[in-house]
Amino acid sequence: MLRNKRIRSTTLNKLEGLLFLSPWLIGFFVFMAFPLAFSLYMSFHQIRITPAGLNVQYRGLSYYKTILFEHGSILYNDLIPFLRQAMFMIPIIVIFALLVAIMLNYKFPGRTLFRTIFFLPVIFSTGEVIQTFYDQGEGSLGFLEQYDLNSYLSVVLPPAWSSTISGVLDSFILILWYSGVQILICLAGRQTIPASVYEAARIDGASPWESFWKITLPAMVPFIFLNTIYTVVDLFTFPWNPIMERVTTSDYGLSSALVWIYFGIILLFLLIVFFGFHRFTRAYQLTK
């Protein structure tokens, strides 16, 4: 009798979970999963839109071959500089967000105002605002010209990397503007750490520096992880990143193949992030 009831309650539990999920799942299958499958299908076919409807012709792997081997310029010309830039931007954004969040967590006059200001990028990041800035060449600090940093960099580093770094420095303000959501996530994460832990550490004689490395950072790891994923995805799917601009509607098959290759690259990036954090948390747990 009792056992019977327990089984019923667990199945009920599962059903309730499924019930909560179902609206999103339905939407997902209709507006995400099916279109994705369709675009995979398109990447193997040549599609022409005729008055009679879609004219589909099987092309096999030829589009993938074209992009990867024959006409590499479609992908590589834009991709490699972009990847190099992303490798710099992602850590900068994540670390910047973490530092700002920790600063914003201190008590000081005008804290609410400062928090609002640092969340502001949330509304610029997807919008037209940054786009106009970018078009007009704003967003560079102008300090590069002042200190002649460019020529210094080009002496020290190989040309490909020095141009990347000066590009990153050049758009430093833009980088800061990407970090609205990340600051928010970090700040919320910082507040999950109870103040009593810091008090206990202080009583035991830990310096603020030590308590940052021993308390704040380990507790923030899940949020830093979340931020890294968010940043990677945000950066790579930005509507005006160089690869996205290549995705045109003139040749559906080729564009779809390009998107799927690009998807593979993002996936690789994320797998590296996942793997890195996995190693990190495991190492931390061992030392604990």
Partner: protein
């Protein structure tokens, strides 16, 4: 030893109380002000840009501050409005309906989805979550044609649903909320259940209030992505009366042969387009901050 030390520290602190702030606070203020100036820059820029006369709109290098502010851009914008065959209020009304209902539905649907993903151990929850992460990485441009097929088959072309439904399955909000809900202590939920709360009550009364920062963030993000999205109007709406405000704004400059004409109107339109986002942001961010201060996680 320790006592004298702390006494000394107390004395030091008291002497700084003259300025009512200690040294860390002053450093913080300086650092944050320096950063904050850059953060506010786009906001200053967009307001100034709308007030620039033509002679300043095309200056190179561009200036942030306007030298001779005029309202001529707005007059030009209203002239464009008068020439439009469909009254502007119609586009605005469409946009408001679509964005309002859309944002509300996205929040409900994705928080409902995130809750079991974070707090239930049902078979396949890991697969479900990795699917969400995977779909995050897909660019909407790639899905335009298939989506057109879906919308046409569902028979929601030229309806408000055609604007709203494609936005519903938003992986970003689910992802953000799921990560926040992971941090809600399970003990809190169990305590609620022991007191006789059903799933729905636990969700509505405990989980949602704690996750308010995530909800507010998703609301801000969703609002602006739907509000700024002209693509549903281009793809799924053939009837001009069903198109939205951003679509109308994009027609101001797009159909013209030369690049200079109507740029003033476009600058004014950009400001008008931006204002609702700013208002929504100001309303919701207060919620973000106040809830973060008093949330149950301590």
């Amino acid at each position: 030893m320790n006592v004298t030390n702390s006494l000394k520290r107390l004395r030091v602190r008291r002497s700084f109380k003259l300025f009512r702030m200690d040294r860390t606070q002053i450093t913080l203020m300086i650092l944050l002000t320096a950063g904050g100036v850059f953060m506010i820059l786009p906001l200053v820029y967009i307001f100034n840009h709308a007030l620039k006369p033509y002679s300043e709109l095309f200056l190179f290098p561009p200036r942030i501050f306007v030298q001779e502010p005029t309202l001529s851009n707005f007059t030009e914008f209203f002239v464009v409005l008068r020439d439009s065959t469909i009254p502007i209020t119609r586009f605005l009304f469409n946009s408001l309906i679509v964005t309002g209902i859309g944002t509300f539905m996205v929040i409900i649907v994705s928080s409902l989805c995130a809750y079991p993903l974070a707090k239930h151990r049902f078979p396949g929850h890991k697969i479900a979550f990795s699917i969400i992460i995977l779909s995050l990485m897909f660019v909407p441009e790639a899905m335009q044609i298939p989506r057109y097929v879906v919308v046409a088959r569902l028979g929601i072309m030229d309806t408000y649903w055609g604007h709203i439904l494609p936005h519903i399955a938003a992986p970003v909000s689910v992802f953000l909320m799921k990560q926040f809900m992971d941090q809600v202590p399970t003990e809190l939920l169990e305590a609620g259940k022991l007191d006789g709360a059903r799933e729905w009550t636990v969700f509505y009364r405990i989980v949602m209030p704690i996750c308010m920062p995530a909800v507010a963030t998703s609301a801000i993000l969703t609002f602006q992505s739907i509000w700024n999205d002209a693509s549903t109007s281009v793809l799924f709406m053939q009837n001009d009366a069903m198109k939205t405000f951003p679509y109308f704004l994009s027609t101001i400059t797009n159909n013209l042969a030369n690049q200079v004409a109507r740029q003033g109107a476009a600058a004014a339109a950009a400001l008008i387009m931006f204002l609702p986002t700013l208002i929504v942001f100001l309303v919701f961010q207060r919620k973000v901050i106040s809830t973060m201060a008093h949330s149950g996680i301590k």
